[in-house]
Assembly symmetry: C2
Homo-oligomer: 415 residues x 2
């Protein structure tokens, strides 16, 4: 008998009416003959309320480290509530169901409270419940560490819970969300954006890390590692109509109709930092990026340019906008050791990327990209590439223009 993990986020379980809707979607899958485990988030808004309380309780702190283990105790309660309510609702519809909390399964995590990683999910108890004909309603986002304390997986962690449980149960995983799939680009920018029937794990990973917030990055990594077939679909689909809906995230080999470029993504979350007048000798990069790494500042794109006449270089790199001020502080504090003349921050930048596994075997992808942008007069500030992605940093004012130009240039409006 085939097994299915269904995951519903906070907006899908925001109130009792929506929980009943979710219960009907679950019932339809049970009726179709599947064994079903359901992973739920906290009701929309509840996690924020709980987090605000922990902030308040921590606000009395005077330089004392955060109590992340107690934060987890408080915040994990939100998913517990939803799991109980959905289980009651399913029973009232005549199904057999019970709730499972992280410590009951158990979902064993490391001790990095507030952002724990799942170490292990022994599948025996859940599998026995499913084999016994019971729907397992699982509180997402939470597990238990080896000390027996509650641990949460960080924001968006319910996606990761769902995929990890699907891996443990050798099940497929349907992620119900407020969009009906993965699109070739953001439909709010390009009305011609199309839903993809399938996308590879690698492409989804690039999309997710670029700010297409359909799936949490770690859940995609996990799905790829354990080859869990994941489907993204809307929780507003009618019961019984889920078949064929949404976007399937799967192995590259399972995608028959290969595309060179699958999507155009963008992010306005980065800032560009420029250092001018650096000494042109080995070790400068280490001086800069070693200091940033020590301070936990993630650097994304980097480009170094040499002045033609002088013996100095310039360095440009991007960091998350919220880290920008701190990054500048760190390099300024080490101006002597690094040796530069001036530092400049530009927050008015956007990163636009084209993504596609077809790039591996097709030349000319970059050429098409640069040509399309040049034609629209979009200046490229920084370029970075991976095996299946080309990203460019541009003036943020050109974001929509660039996205639309690239979407057309790769024929994505004619899938």
């Amino acid at each position: 008998m085939s097994r299915l993990v269904m995951k519903f986020g906070g907006t899908s379980v925001a109130d009792l009416e929506r929980i009943r809707r979710v219960a009907r979607l679950v019932a339809a899958e049970v009726e179709s003959g599947k064994q079903v485990a359901v992973v739920v988030s906290a009701m929309a808004g509840k996690t924020n309320e709980l987090v605000a309380w922990t902030d308040g309780a921590g606000a009395a702190a005077q330089g004392i480290p955060e109590s992340d283990d107690e934060y987890d105790v408080v915040v994990a309660s939100g998913e517990q509530v939803t799991a109980g309510l959905l289980s009651m609702t399913l029973r009232n519809m005549g199904l057999r169901a019970r709730s499972w909390l992280g410590w009951q399964i158990p979902i064993i995590t490391d001790e990095a409270h507030g952002k724990a990683r799942i170490d292990e999910i022994p599948p025996e108890k859940l599998a026995a419940a499913l084999d016994g004909g019971e729907v397992a309603v699982i509180a997402g986002f939470q597990g238990v560490d080896r000390q027996g304390r509650i641990a949460t997986l960080g924001r968006g962690g319910s996606d990761t819970s769902a995929v990890a449980i699907a891996a443990a149960l050798e099940a497929a995983c349907d992620i119900y969300t407020d969009v009906d799939g993965v699109y070739t680009t953001d439909p709010r920018i390009e009305a011609k954006a199309r839903r993809l029937a399938k996308i590879s794990y690698e492409e989804m990973l690039e999309m997710a890390s670029l700010g297409a917030k359909v799936l949490q990055t770690r859940s995609v990594e996990l799905a790829m590692a354990y080859k869990v077939p994941v489907r993204v679909l809307s929780s507003f689909v009618e019961p019984g109509e889920a078949t064929g809906a949404g976007t399937i995230v799967c192995d590259e080999e399972e995608i028959v109709e290969k595309r060179i470029v699958s999507g155009v993504a963008y992010s306005r979350d980065e800032a560009k930092i420029s250092l001018f007048g650096l000494p042109d000798h080995p070790g400068v990069s280490k001086e800069i990026f070693g200091r940033l790494a020590d301070a936990n500042v993630n650097v994304d794109m980097i480009v170094q340019s040499h002045a033609r006449t002088a013996d100095t270089a310039n360095m440009e790199f991007t960091v998350g906008k919220r880290d920008a001020a701190r990054a500048v502080e760190i390099v300024r504090a080490a101006q002597q050791e690094i040796g530069f003349d001036d530092v400049h921050v530009d927050e008015e930048v956007a990163k636009v990327s084209v993504i596609g596994v077809g790039m591996r075997s097709h030349a000319g992808v970059a050429k098409t990209m640069f040509g399309a942008l040049a034609e629209k007069g979009v200046n490229i500030q920084v370029i970075s590439t991976s095996e299946i992605k080309i990203s460019v940093l541009i003036d943020a004012a050109y974001t929509e223009l660039a996205v639309r130009a690239l979407h057309a240039a790769y024929g994505l409006d004619q899938l």
Copy 2:
């Protein structure tokens, strides 16, 4: 080193400001050299919110039995939140603390979900934490059954949690609440009511079961069984001023200054049911009360009277107001078998009681009671007595008058 369990109810932890106040009270006890465990309720209003959701989820039910195990999963989350927040707050004040949920200690209960009873509390883990200098912050109201499922103890169950934990840890138990102790009667009715410095378990038990809602009845039974010294005091006492405050509930032998009557209690929660024209032969009581017991209707006071001339009897008994309609339905349905002419319900009744361990050795207590009531023209409808209590059922309109008359008659305003 002496151990203390401190219990705080929902109004005492209603918001972060009050939780900080609780933390200061805890800190004062720790500074005085005690090992401290704290038992907390859900923040005021939270349990009602959670219960309303479970009602909503169950509202879809069509004659399907309630999911009390899932009710417990939902409702127990309230105490979990408070335990985490208080633990964070204590740490931020520089104390070592951690939260404990029912399943972590564990507090092992039976499987009567929604109104579970505590079977066992292995003290080892908590004792080790206390011996290690940590404040144990315990979620009240909850435990775990032997199947590993969360169970709650029923409304007011946090008192029971606190006393049970005190018994397990061989600790004293301070119950912080919104009144500053146990009074000779309700101060809202009699301004001359006085706070008792001490009261015996037996007297407190009668008070509690009569509707003086200071302590949950089961918590008093438990305290009596395990000889846990319990103190009731206000959570608005200033830190460091708790010594000597409140009312101590203890063994009768520890009360030096014995009183004949300790308090006057009343309850308006009962209804009187009268059956007229019953056949006067053995087995009639069994017919009536057997049926009510089968339907889980608790009967309190009972009086049977014989008509002087006829061969019939009348029966009067009291049940909780919310059970009254059902009780009438049950006896009506069996009118043939029981054999009575008519049934009548009176909800305008009140039960007034005088309570005191001194009654055991003093005659004349009843005489004083009946005399005082007669003097005010209060008619007594039903009388019931126990070793340390005399209760009378009267017209509800006379409640305040009767309470004040009795309070004066036993000299309780001159303690």
